[in-house]
């Protein structure tokens, strides 16, 4: 049964990926192009015009956008997942969470594709961390998943009942983008605001991810907070989804 769930997950995921790049010439390359393009824009604006004092700012941006885009894409994609798959959901009894995982999985593949580019860039700037870097990277990505997956389940489910969420999410994500140190560093924030950043669940994954390249010791308290938030979300998502997932077909 497990093997079959996996096969179904893979089939759904490849559907997600194919749907996204259907009839585009560059296909997958688009994904490789987005983080560097965004990084380039921010690089020019904040490094050349506004003179941000961050070392290897392009790499800094690139790591930031890799994490941020995974998170924001997961939430945007997943919000429409049941409506987009309505034909499948309404006519089968397949476990509903698989549709969400397929969508998250497609984004995970995208993140994976971005990593080699990131490594090359880091190599160029002599910023490849050693064993500690690997540990930080793995921890960062795991924490990123722990935070993103339950949120994905909740957003996907909630959007079935309240479709405005999809639009509201766009706005919230924009605000959230500026509240997360994607293109600035914590050192630039006035001291009295800094401790608030720890409560941002994305803060620690991002910091860990960056530590893989920049070294340094990530804030253990922030990691703990992020881990707790992830765990609470996971519990909530698990129970809410289990209670409600059988009603999805009807609500669609």
């Amino acid at each position: 049964m497990n093997c079959d769930r996996r096969a179904l997950f893979l089939a759904l995921r490849s559907g997600e990926i194919k749907a996204k790049y259907k009839s585009t010439v560059l296909g997958y390359l688009w994904r490789l192009l987005t983080p560097p393009c965004q990084s380039a824009v921010f690089f020019v604006v904040f490094s050349r015009f506004l003179r941000f004092p961050i070392e290897d700012y392009f790499l800094y941006l690139f790591t930031g956008f890799a994490v941020w885009q995974f998170f924001s894409n997961v939430l945007t994609q997943v919000s429409g997942v049941f409506i987009g798959n309505a034909a499948l959901v309404r006519k089968t009894t397949a476990p509903r969470e698989l549709f969400v995982w397929a969508s998250v999985g497609a984004e995970a593949v995208h993140l994976l594709v971005t990593l080699p580019v990131l490594f090359c860039l880091a190599l160029l700037r002599h910023r490849l961390g050693g064993a500690a870097g690997v540990i930080h990277l793995v921890a960062g990505v795991s924490l990123l998943f722990l935070v993103s997956c339950p949120l994905a389940l909740l957003v996907a489910l909630a959007n079935v009942y309240f479709r405005d969420l999809e639009r509201i999410l766009q706005i919230l994500l924009q605000v959230y983008f500026y509240l997360t140190p994607v293109f600035y560093s914590l050192a630039q924030i006035p001291e009295r605001y800094r401790s608030f950043f720890r409560f941002n669940p994305l803060f620690s994954p991002l910091e860990l991810f960056r530590a893989a390249f920049y070294g340094g010791v990530p804030d253990p308290l922030a990691a703990g907070i992020s881990l707790t938030e992830g765990a609470v979300l996971a519990f909530a998502a698990y129970f809410i989804f289990r209670a409600k997932s059988r009603d999805i077909a009807e609500e669609l």
Binding site: L12, A87, L88, K91, A94
Partner: protein, 248 residues
């Protein structure tokens, strides 16, 4: 004996609440009183329906449009949760609901065989074994490696039916899809269903074609406004439909 019944529905009922679905955020903010006090008018789609189907038996579900046939099938398949009563199924359910359901249009026919088959609960290994058989029966030929969106309606139905029937379900639920195929395919489908039925598969068939029902099904139920009006041997049910000048 009740033991050999594969599918049993007991006093099945389903109530939908009709609400206005065009409420958005704007309406909630501007007309919040109306939004939260909006009436939820109940609509009884299926009411107190009981029957059972045994191994190798076929049941026809007859009735006019809107009688609750499709809702009933969704309940049997476990897609919708019944409001009252319950469904008991022993074994795997094969589903052939309306056209193109369970397919993704960006995937090829071959990929859809796996997607659809797995959604129906077949094992991956089984599907690999019967893949060629499915393609063969569906008659889509070398279109099998083309994306599904290039398929004609008939081709989609044929592939869908082929997957569903080759997955060897214990109960096959067929919703009025045979009407789409041409006469040759219809014959082929009915012959295949009959073969499987002889091997012990149970069939629940929704149809508006009374001769198909009479030809194929041992028993029938006639639904009207969600309730069973006639039930019994197919022939009897059909003659009572005719006597009472019922729509079907």
């Amino acid at each position: 004996m009740t033991d050999d019944k594969i599918l049993t529905a007991t006093r099945l009922g389903k109530v939908f609440y009709r609400t206005r679905h065009d409420y958005g955020l704007k309406d909630i903010l501007l007309h919040s009183v109306a939004y939260f006090s909006r009436e939820r008018r109940p609509f009884v789609a299926v009411d107190d329906v009981s029957f059972s189907v045994g191994r190798g038996e076929a049941l026809a579900v007859l009735g006019p449009n809107g009688a609750g046939k499709s809702t009933l099938l969704s309940l049997l398949a476990g897609i919708l949760r019944p409001t009252t009563g319950g469904v008991n199924v022993r074994g795997r359910v094969g589903l052939m609901l309306e056209l193109g359901s369970g397919f993704r249009h960006d995937l090829t026919g071959r990929e859809n065989i796996f997607l659809n088959g797995l959604l129906l609960g077949a094992k991956k290994r089984e599907l690999e074994e019967i893949e060629e058989e499915i393609i063969d029966f569906s008659g889509v030929g070398d279109f099998i490696d083309e994306p599904l969106r290039t398929y004609s309606t008939g081709m989609q139905t044929r592939l869908g039916f082929s997957i569903a029937v080759h997955a060897h379900p214990d109960v096959m639920i067929v919703d009025e899809v045979l009407a789409v195929g041409d006469s040759e395919f219809r014959r082929k489908c009915l012959a295949k269903l009959r073969d499987e039925k002889e091997c012990g598969m149970a069939v629940v068939l929704v149809t508006h074609a009374l001769d198909d029902a009479e030809d194929f099904c041992d028993s029938a139920i006639y639904l009207e406004h969600g309730r069973i009006r006639f039930a019994g041997a197919t022939r009897d049910v059909i003659s009572r439909i005719a006597e009472n000048h019922c729509e079907y």
